[in-house]
Point group: C2
DNA sequence: ACCTGAACACCGTTCAAGT
DNA sequence: ACCTGAACACCGTTCAAGT
């Protein structure tokens, strides 16, 4: 909205700037707004173009294709992640769990980002900065180099998969009653399975449907991963 | 292809059965063939219908929608998984890893299945039988009920995410030269990052790009998960 | 170099009409 | 009950033509 002051203001068409030039940034801005407001499916080249008051073909001068736009969105979201800059060897495990919680928080705050992120290695500069921070925590914990390298692949893979599952099921929009109904329906289904072939599933029906809201399950996941990594700490 | 022997064979239109009735099974068969032969994107309601020599609308009498078809495909693939029926408390960790390897094997053998599976909790009967088998292994390992229940959520989540990443990148079709080129390109990129902000990424560039073929990374992942679960074993 | 309209080759799903 | 053709409301991407 930078108006040149000497620019003639036509009285007939009010307030309408004579079309700012398209840029990568404006495209990502518009796409990000669509993503957060209306979810991943709303982010189409056509709808982004429409928001920018142009046709879809115009975007291709600034963005290679939809996949690149997805990557740009992921990188934009990565910017929001607040990860510790000062790793602490004394409590690296807690720092690592906090980092994973922060990653999930940002993905939940930007519904659809997980959908854009899943299946791609995040190589944007902001995403790589997150990787750098997590590597720092792992190094502080004395994790061997190769293990740390593979861990920074495993960690976003897990967090993104969890967030993606939530977006797909639209879980973020569920009321407590929805959750309740889903859980009891699922438990009833488990308990109705043939007892000869599904003895354990039936016996654990309660546990299997517990923690459907996601937080407990996620806490379990990051505990398992952290404990598994702790088992790899270099013995000195 | 069950021909009634007394069925008249019209000499004009040879070999063409007068249209077998559509069934759920025939639809899943056709979709599965498309999935394996041409990947996930080839599995559209329209293409499946075309293979069955009908229009897309006809499928909706047997399948609720595309999402249900996806679930049926996942369940079909789950049938191929050979998981141990006799859990062994002495070597539950090795059995668990084998089970995860088997899950990945089947997903690799059916490219596109991971794409159909990602983000949905597998609730088909054959998929649940896999869950039952893995629960048996975890129980043999003395994992507490609630932990076992969450673990059978975590395990397919991880394996599916790995398989999905491979399908997206088309890694299953890469030649050793492709891998080589990708790895060196990536390492060069890491090493060219600003040294003040990415010291660890640069230092670990070699490790970060190692194991791109996937097997080593997957072995690392299942080792971490198994070790993390082992840390939860009930102390008796 | 950037932008555009129009076209190409697709999607999932619905619905009235047929048998 | 099952099947069909046609339509609705979409996709990502390309390309010749404009400025």
């Amino acid at each position: 909205m930078t108006h040149s002051p000497w620019q003639p203001i036509s009285p007939a068409k009010p307030a309408r700037t004579p079309k700012e030039p398209l840029t990568r940034d404006r495209i990502v801005d518009a796409a990000m707004r669509l993503l957060v407001d209306q979810g991943y499916d709303a982010v189409s080249m056509r709808k982004v173009a429409q928001v920018l008051d142009t046709g879809p073909a115009s975007l291709y001068a600034h963005v290679a294709n939809k996949k690149e736009l997805d990557q740009l969105l992921v990188d934009r979201a990565a910017e929001e992640m607040r990860l510790p800059e000062q790793p602490d060897p004394e409590r690296w495990q807690e720092q690592l769990k906090d980092a994973m919680r922060e990653m999930l928080r940002v993905m939940r705050a930007n519904p659809g980002v997980a959908r854009a992120a899943i299946g791609q290695v995040p190589l944007g500069e902001r995403a790589l900065l997150s990787t750098e921070r997590i590597l720092a925590i792992l190094k502080a914990g004395n994790i061997p180099d190769q293990a740390a390298a593979w861990a920074v692949d495993l960690i976003p893979l897990y967090v993104t998969a969890v967030a993606f599952e939530e977006t797909v099921q639209g879980a973020w929009a569920w009321t407590p009653e929805d959750v309740e109904g889903f859980v009891t329906g699922l438990r009833t289904y488990f308990e109705s399975l043939p007892a000869d072939r599904f003895p354990i599933t039936i016996a654990l029906a309660g546990s299997l449907t517990s923690g459907a809201s996601g937080d407990e399950r996620f806490e379990f996941g990051i505990t398992v991963i952290t404990a598994g990594l702790a088992a790899l700490v270099q013995k000195t």
